[in-house]
């Protein structure tokens, strides 16, 4: 195989347990977002737009939807002769089988894959973040500073800093301290979980970490602190722009709703920006005679016969006559039958809000409610009428 300068390892094995019903049957990177995307589309599109044509996708938790979605990689132009997208699950060996024990362990178990391409650099990214980034610029920075590891960082508010891996860096960007989820953060530079390693450095660090029985085999908790203690050349690359880890229902809901702004902060509509996704071919959506659609996103294959306001209708969603959908997200194939009402809610894939049923509440104090994929909400006098 031809030598590659840089390949990407995309971590997509996590459950995203705080997303509750949304990830009960699919992994977080496979969760639908913004109407026609799945969360993994954003990091895959970043790879393609940064000319990285070889991506190993590390999977573990409920991988069926993700596998089916990735396919040959063709929708992202990642069906390459020499490279492309590779789904890398845990596997059995002569010594038995093991799950991936942590982010670092998952990469370690795929040394063979990386060795095949004998890259100079390995980019480690997550499949569950929303952002647009040109990894080439980060790689440029990595080379300029002759770094062995570059960590992409973003400024976060001090009160939120204890949720992140916090970095203290010198003027030139050299990392001095790295603390995972500090109680009393002394810096507001947060790691985005995006790393560029010199491949030989990563290779030996992973093996060293594997030998440490106390390690949790996690990049943030173990590998980076270990390299820092060894006084290797670690640099922080400052990224400014939109970046979200939609870890909870609330943040997932808000990130979706932010797209409705006239000029969204995460501007997927920006001219010249190319976002790829694996979309089925559906006809244009139909808006009926008596329908109202305002301040909303609507995808192909939808039928809107009722009223839709401040909402996101994913591919093939249906809103029946007399139904009202407000401040809600209908995931692919969701149905809101005639006369039903949905407010401040997330309706799962192919889930059904049955005729005349109420779901959700207009009360902004109430939490966002979620109905899981394929579930039904019946017309029930007590089902949350406000």
């Amino acid at each position: 195989m031809r030598k590659k300068e840089c390949i990407a390892m995309l971590l997509a094995g996590g459950q995203g347990s705080r997303l509750g019903a949304l990830t009960s049957r699919i992994a977080k990177p496979a969760v639908a977002f913004g109407g026609k995307y799945r969360i993994i589309d954003f990091s895959l599109s970043n790879c393609v737009n940064s000319n990285i044509d070889t991506v190993g996708v590390l999977i573990q938790y409920r991988p069926l939807a993700l596998n089916a979605y990735l396919g040959t990689g063709a929708p992202w132009d990642l069906d390459e002769q020499d490279g492309g997208v590779f789904v890398l699950p845990p596997y059995a060996t002569q010594a038995g089988g093991e799950w991936y024990a942590g982010t670092a362990d998952s990469v370690l178990k795929n040394l063979d894959f990386i060795d095949n391409y004998d890259p100079e650099y390995v980019l480690i990214i997550s499949g569950d973040h929303l952002y647009t980034m040109d990894y080439n610029k980060m790689l440029e920075f990595h080379k300029q500073h002759q770094a062995e590891l570059t960590v992409s960082v973003i400024e976060v508010p001090l009160e939120e800093a204890s949720r992140f891996g916090i970095i203290t860096a010198g003027e030139d960007g050299e990392i001095q301290r790295f603390t995972e989820k500090p109680k009393n953060p002394d810096s507001t530079l947060a790691s985005m979980g995006i790393y560029i390693f010199d491949w030989p450095v990563l290779r030996s660090a992973l093996q060293e970490d594997a030998a440490n029985e106390e390690s949790e085999h996690d990049f943030g908790k173990n590998v980076i602190p270990m390299l820092l203690a060894q006084r290797r050349r670690l640099f922080a690359y400052s990224f400014s722009g939109y970046w979200r880890d939609v870890g909870t229902i609330d943040s997932y809901y808000e990130a979706n709703m932010d797209l409705l702004a006239e000029k969204p902060e995460f501007d997927i509509f920006e001219q010249g920006r190319q976002l790829y996704s694996n979309a089925n071919i559906f006809p244009p959506h139909y808006v009926g005679e008596k329908a109202v659609v305002q301040n909303s996103l609507v995808c192909n294959g939808c039928t809107v016969l009722g009223e839709v306001r401040n909402s996101i209708l994913s591919t093939e969603a249906y809103v029946g006559p007399g139904a009202k959908v407000e401040d809600a997200i209908l995931l692919p194939g969701a149905r809101v039958e005639s006369g039903a009402r949905v407010m401040r809610a997330i309706v799962g894939e192919r889930a059904v809000i049955e005729t005349n049923a109420y779901f959700g509440s207009q009360d902004k104090e109430q939490p966002i409610v979620v109905v899981g994929d394929n579930e039904h909400v019946a017309d029930d006098l007590w089902s949350g009428r406000y």
Partner: protein, 367 residues
């Protein structure tokens, strides 16, 4: 069964009655239904029937067709075995001849027919709009012992319309006429023919290669076994600009949409990776089709928008078709208008045609 059939789609014909809409494209690549081109129906029908070897006879202006079908990826036709074959068509004569299946286009591409083991060829035009499950027709062809099987639909509204009409009795074609009166069996530019018979035609008529295959069949009706197979579903016939508008508006009817896009099989087309359609807070959209990539801030009624169309604040689009990347600036008003691709209508313009005679704004115009 489908493995023994290869497809042949003719795109090498045009029609003067479309004016600017087909000035630089064949009828086959005329955009339709918000994201499709007319050709998509023929190709998708074949693919949905399991056919994986399809020859496309290209028209003289083939840029837009090539741009659209590429290697046939969206139709699963980028294959090792079989796939999409581009068959260069001859330069056609007067457009008004309306000849869809000129024999010389097939003679020129004889190797396509010779290098296959398929027994049967499914030949289709590229301008009729329908979604069919071909399998019953294949079975009927087999049951009749092969020969030729022509697809038709009985219609009542063909009076005065040019076309080929079949006289059918006992499921056999008895005669063909060019003129329609009352209920008639309209030939849908689609037939199955034994490959060897087709190659024989190429041989026998090699000195008369300007004739149309359908005329050859007509001349030999007495000596051939020509079955007729009825189609019951929706048939969109696009013969001129007002037909085009009528067929576009037909899509606003739920039953037509279900027949064309819901039941038999998916109609596939080129994928563009557009963002979802975005509606602002003041939009009024009624009885319309809107694909991805659109931005709507104004009013859209009884209309079909294509990918990337924009309707500005206070702009009104009624009974119209706005093709890809059409920009209707704030305050403009359009009624019974067909905007070809990449058209900009600036603020303050009021453009209108009539339902029977829609106003056509040519590609790339700025008004």
């Amino acid at each position: 069964m489908a493995g023994r059939i290869i497809g042949l789609i003719s795109c090498n014909y045009n029609d003067d009655s479309f004016g600017q809409l087909t000035a630089a494209r064949s009828l086959a690549s005329l955009p339709f239904g918000g994201r499709y081109r007319l050709l998509d129906f023929a190709v998708s029908n074949m693919v949905n029937a399991g056919i994986r070897t399809i020859g496309l006879v290209t028209p003289y202006f083939y840029r837009s067709i090539m741009d659209h079908v590429g290697a046939g990826k969206e139709w699963c036709l980028d294959r090792k075995h079989g796939g999409l074959f581009l068959l260069p068509g001859s330069i056609f004569g007067p457009k008004s001849e309306q000849s869809s299946f000129v024999l010389r286009d097939i003679i020129k591409n004889r190797s396509y027919l010779e290098r296959t083991r398929a027994e049967t060829v499914l030949i289709c035009g590229s301008s009729k709009i329908f979604n069919i499950d071909f399998r019953p027709m294949f079975a009927a062809h087999d049951a009749a012992g092969g020969g030729i099987t022509m697809l038709y639909k009985t219609v009542n509204d063909a009076q005065g319309q040019s076309g080929t009409y079949l006289e059918v009795s006992g499921e056999m074609v008895q005669a063909m006429t060019r003129e329609a009166a009352g209920p008639v069996n309209c030939f849908m530019d689609c037939f199955l023919i034994d490959r060897k018979l087709l190659l024989n035609f190429c041989e026998w008529y090699r000195n008369f290669s300007h004739v149309d295959l359908v005329d050859i069949i007509n001349d030999n009706l007495d000596n051939l076994q020509v079955q007729a197979f009825p189609f019951e579903g929706y048939l969109g016939q696009v013969r001129n600009i007002s037909d085009y508008m009528r067929c576009s508006q037909d899509l606003l009817n739920l039953e037509v949409r279900q027949e064309l896009f819901g039941n038999a099989g998916q109609i596939r087309t080129k994928i563009e990776d557009n963002t979802p359609a975005k509606y602002s807070g003041e939009t009024v959209v009624r009885n319309s089709l809107v694909p991805t990539g659109c931005f709507i801030e104004g009013t859209v009624e009884n209309s079909i928008l294509f990918r990337g169309a924009r309707v500005g604040k206070g702009a009104v689009v009624r009974n119209s078709v706005i093709m890809s990347r059409g920009i209707i600036q704030p305050g403009a008003l359009l009624e019974n208008v067909i905007c070809d691709k990449f058209v900009t209508i600036s603020s303050g313009n009021k453009l209108s045609g009539t339902p029977g005679k829609p106003l056509v704004i040519p590609k790339n115009s700025e008004i």
